[in-house]
Each structure stands twice: as C-alpha cells, then as structure tokens.
C-alpha cells in the first residue's frame, strides 16, 4: 500500500463519512435535545431515498426537487410520529422508545417492500445521478465521480449550518434551554413540546436528506438503512451522545478508517468501527466529545 493509494482511500472514505455524519448529526440532535434513542433513523433514511424514487416515478420529479421535497415529507412524517406515538413515552425508561422505534422500523421496511413490489414491480429501485453531476473529475491523484464530491461538499455545509444554528442563534438557545431545564424554560412562556416536535422533525429530515443523497450511489431497497443504522449508532457513541461536533467529526473519521481498512484488509472494514467503539468506551465512557452526565 503506497502513499498515493492511502491518500485515495482517505479521500474516498470522506464520502461514506458524509453519510455517517449526516445520520449521526440527526441522531445527536434528537438525543441531545429529547433523550430519545431513535432506532427508526435508518428506516427514515431509506424512506428519503424511496420517496425520491417514488416522486420521480409518480410525478416525474428529478433529483433537485426531490432533494428539497423528500426530506420535508420525511420530516413531517417524523413530527406526526413524535406527536402521536413517541410523546406518550416521555418520562418512561429509554428502552420503551427503543422498542417502539425498532417496531416502527420493521413495519416501515415491510411496507416499503410491499409497495415496491406491487406498485413499481422492483425489489431494488433504479435512480440516476443528476445530469450536471455525472461523470468523473481527474483530481491528479485520483479519478473521482463528480457526484461524490458534491455529496462531501453539501454535507459539510449542512453540518456547519446545523452547528451554527444550535450554538450561535436564539433558536438554538431556546432549544438548548428546553432540554437543559424544561420547567424553567416553560416559566419563560416558551412552549417546550412544540420545540421538541420541531427538533425531531429536523433531525429525521436530515436522515431523509441523507437518503436522497444516497439514491444515486447505492441501490434503493427496503433494507438499505438496516446496516447503516448500527454503524451510525456506534459513531454517535464514539463521538459522545448528544455532541453535535462529536458526531460530525467522528462520522467522517469512521468513514475514512473503514475505507482504509477495506483497502488493506477487507474483512476488517465493517468491524473496525466497533473495535474503535470498545476502545473509546474503555478510555472515555462518555465518548470523545461528550461530557459526563451532570457536568453539562
């Protein structure tokens, strides 16, 4: 493995890293603000990809409108689920909402499978890369697909915007206050539950967005989120539960590590992240960027 190959794989790892970052960002926001372990995240990512495909099939909408619409649709669906189901479990053990979201995952996967087979007669849906972004760019050290470069760039922008909103704006301050101390926040006349629903919607909307971005690269099928969610949870744990910066940095880092690992010794690619998680938990139980409970 020479330096150039290594460099190529590091660069390539940023693409997968972008998906991990987008997904774990949503998970981190939801967990940090609402203390919900949202197991449905992978299924909602799949729904984002599937919605993009369905919009194209039913209304002839291309990639760009889908990039806006699909996350909105997934986000709204998330808010409905939060209002009708998740909100009933607040104050109970976290394992309850883990079970609920896991059940919803199974339900969503099978529903999409049935719809795909009955309505579109496919078990995996074709989705083409937008015209502007097809083809490859020669970057000197590697020939790389344009579309993947776009995925890296867009993800970085979205992560930065999310971080900025939460850390530097009034909206972010309200959200942080609502999670830090809901009763005091209510005393200031702020409707906390509305904010909670909104945050959940944005969090799962990010998963939907990741799904649309994935559609031209990966095959769109009912179980596309199943494996990804496990890795994403590991990323969140390594980064520190609820830490936004942690989830983004770790997401990209894990993507890079897995790509380099796959190139050197393929069987390790999928286990690397869990080995890393075990080490981090031994050394820093609250994750790399997480603060121990109670010091927040």
């Amino acid at each position: 493995m020479n330096t150039q190959l290594l460099l190529i794989q590091v660069f390539n790892g940023l693409v997968n890293g972008a998906f991990y970052a987008l997904l774990s960002l949503g998970l981190a926001v939801i967990f940090g603000m609402l203390r919900i372990v949202n197991f449905m995240h992978g299924a909602l990512y799949m729904l984002g990809a599937f919605t993009a495909f369905a919009l194209g099939q039913a209304f002839g909408l291309g990639f760009w409108p889908a990039l806006i619409l699909a996350p909105l649709i997934v986000g709204v669906l998330g808010m409905v689920l939060e209002r009708t189901l998740l909100s009933r479990l607040y104050g109970l053990e976290p394992s309850y909402n883990l079970l609920l979201t896991f059940g919803l995952t199974l339900l969503t996967q099978d529903l999409v499978k049935q719809v795909m087979l009955s309505q579109f007669a496919v078990s995996s849906a074709p989705y083409t890369t937008p015209e502007v972004l097809t083809g490859v760019v020669n970057l000197g050290f590697v020939v790389f697909p344009k579309y993947r470069l776009f995925v890296i760039a867009l993800t970085l922008v979205i992560c930065l915007v999310t971080w900025f909103v939460i850390e530097k704006t009034r909206v972010g301050a309200i959200i942080r206050a609502s999670t830090e101390n809901p009763s005091v926040t209510r005393a200031f006349g702020i409707d906390v539950s509305k904010w909670v629903t909104g945050v959940f919607g944005v969090g799962v909307g990010l998963a939907g967005l990741a799904g649309v971005l994935a559609a031209p690269i990966y095959s769109v099928e009912p179980y596309m989120g199943a494996e990804l969610i496990i890795t994403t949870f590991a990323v969140v744990v390594i980064g520190g539960l609820g830490s936004i910066l942690g989830s983004v940095v770790t997401g990209f880092a894990v993507g890079v590590l897995a790509a380099v690992g796959a190139a050197i010794y393929p069987p390790i690619a999928n286990t690397l992240v869990f080995v890393l998680m075990a080490i981090v938990l031994l050394v820093r139980p609250s994750g790399l960027f997480g603060l121990p409970e109670g010091t927040r």
């Binding site: 150039q4 190959l5 190529i8 794989q9 390539n12 693409v15 997968n16 499978k113 087979l117 007669a121 496919v122 078990s123 995996s124 849906a125 074709p126 890369t129 083809g135 490859v136 590697v142 020939v143 790389f144 697909p145 579309y147 993947r148 031209p216 690269i217 990966y218 095959s219 099928e221 179980y223 596309m224 494996e227 990804l228 790509a259 796959a262 190139a263 393929p266 069987p267 690619a269 999928n270």
Partner: protein, 411 residues
C-alpha cells in the same frame, strides 16, 4: 407400383395408430398416488428473488402442466400445481417441504432459489422419497457432497457460471483480472472456480481476490483499487442487490472508459432491468438460456408473456422445462412413485426449447445442457423491448459442467 406406394403410406400410419392406442391404454393404466400428480413449486414468493423466480415460476409450472395435459389425454385434469413461499430461509424451506409432502401429497418439489433452502428441502424430500428439481438454487453441493438419490439439478450451477465466463472472457483477451466476491459460501465457491477457469486459459489475477462483507452497499474502495491496478477485467461475484450496487458504482467511477471491462458471476434479466441495460453494456456473463435465443424460444416466450404479462427470466423458463421433463418421466414410468420416476429420469437424453442436447447424469443427477456466454447490449443496439443479450459463445452440454469423474456424490 401404385400398391407399393400406398403401402408405404398406409403402413407407417397404421403402426403409428396402433402405437398410439397402446400408449393411450398404458397411460390409462398409470398408477398415480391419490389419482393426481401434484407439483409443489417451493420458491421465494415475496422476497429478493420473487421477481426472477417466484410467481413467474409458479405460472411456468402451471403452463407446463396444462401443455402436458393437452397432449396426453389420459392425464387430463390429473396434474395440479401448488406454489409455496419459503422466504429464502433454510428452516422455513424444511418445514414447508415436509408439510407439502405429508399434508398436500405433493409428488415433486420444483425451483428452490437460495442454495441453503434448496439443500434443506432436498434433505427432507430424500427421507420421504420425493423427487426434487432444483432450478434456481446454484450450489454445486447438490451434485457433490450433499447429493441425494431423489434430487436433480437443472439449469445451472456455480461451476457452469464461473467456467463459462472465466473461459470465454479470458479467451477473448480479457486475461488479467481483479475479482471481488461476497464472503459467504456462494461467493467463495464462485471465486474459487472463476480463478481456476481464468488460470486454465492462460489468464492471471493481478492481485488476490478480495472478499467483501455480505451484504454490502459501498464498493468504492475496491473500484478505486481496480482503477489503480488496471486489470483488463473487473470480476464481480456479487448477486442481487450487492451486484446492483457494484454495477452502479462501476459506472459511477467510469471504469469502462478507463478500459476496465466487467465480468459477472451470476446475472439475471431482472438485475439488468434494475439499472437499465446501458449500465451493464459490454458486461459478460453465462446463462443457460435467454428469451430471444432463437425462434423456438421466442415462440415459448410469447405464450408465457401472454399468460404472465412479463417476459420470462431464464429461471422461470427453466421451471417450465423441468416440470415438463418430470411429467414426461411420469408418463414413461406410468407412475408418480418417486423411485420409478427417478429411474425414468436417470440417463435420459432430450432437447426442448430451454435445454438443448440435455442429458441427466445417473452418477450425480446433474442435468447437463448447452449454455451460452452472453454480452449485454447497449440500449442503442437493442432491436426490441427486452433485447439485452448477444451470444458470444455456446458451451456444449458435455463441457459446460464439472466432469462427472470429479463428482464427490455417493448415493
């Protein structure tokens, strides 16, 4: 002189008529358990293989039953077809096979996609002395260490795929390869046989094959490796969704333009449909049949399309052929008893629209037939809807499968 001519015409006619009445009489005397031949299509009715086999396989078996009854008056109304879902799970296949045989009195099991499910059903049927025709399952274990006196392996197997594609591609100048394979029995098997076929024909691997996790979505690391190693052929042994991901990303990384061709282990028409044929254009694979192979195949396809609304995959056409072959064996044996049918099938030679120069090997129950290495056409070259393959080579029945001398099968 005139008399002689007349005799020449009449004699054969008389002989034929006599023979016909004899066979009719014999068919009348055929021994059928519960007075019916019940064909159990055990397949994937709802999962990943339901498009390439599934309901289409059940329809194909039903067509074969109807055609058989139409030409064999004695069996009119006596052949039934049942379709059952095994969900691609070995344990479900086991239970369903037992249930079909014990409760529904099924006389034969058909299709069986997914190797593990095929092996499980074969094991159950062996204990109950019921013939099995495996069409869509690919493992060579069925005719080797896990063979059964009652199981026949139709259409294709992993050796045929690897041997056909590895040989044809290497001979055409694609003599340097980089192979990736999914890390489970099917993939390991295919990689081993593909590598052997390449080396046998003077080709080489530029680097040892890479095992990829299964299932896997992202293959970019391997594609970038191929980009820097520059083999003439990038070989993918992935199947189903993994294959779709590989091909999607092979195109995305522009490997074709960089002069790296695509060699595919197992390819179904439905895989091509999932991405459109341009994504696969130029790729090579080996198949036992395709719908526009020749006029005979087209004629059958037209009938199937009318009945099912879609063109058949080679797996579905194989189920029709296997069902017909089984029914003809029943009529030769004049019984649907398992042992009698097995005897009638062993050593049988035949040719139909699907299986050309076919022979059922008595030693291991491998059904050999002519197979074809095909190249996927670009959309622009397609003359009609569904026209996706160009024939590159025909591999004769006797050479397409592992030699009988090498089988590890002991009944």
């Amino acid at each position: 002189m005139k008399k002689a001519k007349l005799t020449a015409i009449i004699a054969p006619a008389l002989v034929t008529a006599a023979l016909f009445s004899v066979t009719a009489a014999l068919a009348q005397g055929a021994k059928l358990s519960d007075n019916a031949i019940k064909i159990g299509v055990l397949t994937d009715l709802s999962g990943v293989y339901s498009e390439l086999s599934g309901p289409g396989s059940v329809k194909a078996a039903q067509m074969a039953a109807d055609d058989f009854m139409a030409t064999n008056a004695a069996y009119k109304g006596k052949v039934q077809v049942i379709g059952v879902d095994h969900q691609n799970k070995a344990d479900v296949a086991s239970n369903k096979a037992a249930e079909m045989i014990d409760r529904q009195n099924v006389d034969v099991l058909m299709d069986l996609p997914t190797s593990s499910a095929a092996l499980a059903a074969s094991e159950v049927a062996k204990g109950k002395k019921i013939p099995v025709m495996v069409v869509t399952g690919g493992t060579t274990a069925l005719t080797n260490e896990k063979c059964s006196k009652y199981t026949f392996h139709y259409a294709y197997d992993n050796f045929m795929l690897a041997n056909g594609t590895g040989t044809a591609v290497t001979k055409r100048g694609g003599n340097s390869w980089y192979i990736i394979y999914p890390n489970y029995a099917f993939g390991q098997d295919l990689d081993r046989q593909m590598t052997a076929a390449i080396k046998e024909n003077g080709g080489k691997l530029v680097t040892p094959s890479d095992a990829t996790p299964f299932p896997n979505t992202d293959f970019s690391s391997y594609l970038l490796k191929a980009q820097s190693l520059k083999p003439k052929i990038f070989g993918t042994m992935q199947a189903g969704n993994d294959l779709v991901n590989v091909v999607k990303q092979y195109n995305e990384f522009g490997l074709k333009k960089q002069g790296i061709g695509l060699g595919i282990g197992l390819l179904f028409e439905t895989d091509v449909a999932a991405l459109g044929q341009d994504a696969y254009a130029g790729a090579l694979a080996t198949v036992p049949w395709y719908w526009n192979l020749d006029q005979r195949s087209r004629d059958w396809t037209a009938k199937f399309e009318k009945a099912f609304g879609k063109k058949p995959t080679w797996a579905q056409a194989g189920v029709y052929s296997a069902t017909m072959t089984y029914l003809q064996a029943v009529s030769r044996a004049k019984s649907d008893n398992g042992d009698a049918v097995v005897k009638a099938l062993e050593g049988y030679r035949f040719s139909d629209f699907f299986a050309r120069s076919a022979y059922i090997r008595p030693q291991d129950h491998r059904v050999t037939l002519d197979v074809y290495t095909v190249q996927v056409k670009a959309k622009a070259q397609a003359k009609e809807a569904g026209d996706i393959f160009t024939k590159v080579a025909t591999i004769p029945s006797a050479k397409a499968f592992a030699p009988v001398a090498e089988t590890k099968c002991k009944f």
